[in-house]
Symmetry: C2
Subunit: 252 residues, 2 copies
């Protein structure tokens, strides 16, 4: 049984509300944040946002994307803290020992899958959320957890993934290739996989290999020059358009 | 000196005019077609469309794109017949001996560069064309000729290229890798390079290599599953949005 509690600190800025919440799952507390248009307009698509390593549910990227989906598309968007990140731990840099330790825990990926499922259970009950039109956006650590998640929750209809792969220093540290090998073929929803051509953490060849192994018939790879933290000039706009294309269809 | 002559067969359908023309260059006649909005609206961007092997200036793809740019964006678009294609020769299938012979001719690429330059010279004089906002769209043979062209004509401001590369059966037949090696580093305008992940004519690795060698700092690769003739579900829409992003800026 999951339970959603709202924090007292909801704010509304520029037509977008941002409210903190927690979801309780088997006595464990998952802290999250929801962005939604201030103007009520009935149930709308929801994008689940997975932050990167060293980030948290309210970091700059999450806030930018959450506000973009709410303001530009009139959608809802939600982020939760990853394990040992944000309100759930000490990691603000992936060089922190707790980051590597996190990946040693055999249940870490399954736990995050269950956190997302519980979060979506809870958010689906909200009047502003159309649970038939749910997407996922998460790159880097947002894909390390998010790819297994979207492979495991049929409610997610389309996903932006990427900046991750089968080879590289971040793979040696995390052992994520084992999970990718198991879960990538099970990702059968439409995917936009984004990569940086000169990524120093996930090697080019290993990212191409991960894209190749995705089970989806309907997938596309977008590659831009630059390193792991860089982004193409129009990349977020194009990613939003991709989700819009798939979540604004009415097939429910 | 170039000279533009209009054919008598201009037609206007659904708000888009389509007019045949010829450009004379050193006694050589280059046959072309121009699409433009029927409603006059001053100078507008122009997209040069390079057709694929076995195609011609008015094949289904060219007409679709020409009408799309004119109707949806209010732009102009122009296509010309490639050597030994359309009104310039017998090739309607790349298995025709004249197709392989074409690639043996040492001047074939430079001639097509000069054909495009002469065409743009002539079209730039038209009142509906803004010669400061010119883009190029061409994949497969449209890149085999178009990549050297856009590397050689500074008037082209952004290009959609792709479905071509350094390795594969189409490379062995044409020897195009020699041209790509020479011209790719000279392509410094924004590029969207599109490829099919399972292309049977241009190998995956050789397409990635060609993208890698493009001199542009601002470039992106879009890959979709499928063979050479396939296309991603939203690929043309995304390619049009790319050109729009770069050609509707007013920096002239």
């Amino acid at each position: 049984m999951t339970r959603l509690s709202w924090s007292a600190d909801a704010v509304s800025v520029g037509g977008v509300c941002e409210g903190g919440f927690t979801v309780e799952r088997n006595g464990l507390v998952v802290p999250g944040v929801l962005w939604y248009p201030a103007e009520p307009a009935g149930p709308r698509p929801l994008v689940l946002l997975g932050h990167g390593g060293s980030g948290h549910k309210r970091n700059e990227r999450m806030v930018m994307l959450g506000r973009m989906f709410a303001a530009d598309s009139g959608w809802c968007a939600a982020a939760i803290d990853g394990p040992v990140h944000g309100e759930r731990g000490p990691v603000t840099d992936t060089s922190h020992p707790a980051y590597s330790q996190m990946w040693q825990r055999p249940e870490v990926v399954q736990d995050m899958i269950d956190d997302w499922k519980a979060t979506l259970d809870a958010l689906s009950a909200l009047e502003q959320v159309d649970s038939a039109r749910v997407g996922y956006w998460g790159v880097s650590m947002g894909t390390m957890f998010g790819l297994p998640y979207v492979a495991s929750d049929a409610r997610v209809r389309a996903a932006v993934l990427g900046k991750a792969g089968m080879i590289g220093s971040s793979v040696r540290r995390s052992g994520i290739d084992t999970y990718f090998k198991a879960f990538a073929p099970k990702v059968t929803i439409p995917v936009l996989f984004v990569m940086q051509w000169d990524d120093e953490r996930f090697d080019r060849q290993g990212q191409l290999e991960l894209f190749d192994q995705l089970g989806a018939q309907d997938k596309r790879l977008h590659a831009y020059p630059g390193q792991h933290a860089d982004n193409g000039p129009e990349s977020f706009e194009v990613q939003a358009a991709f989700l819009k294309r798939y979540l604004e269809r009415t097939e429910a």
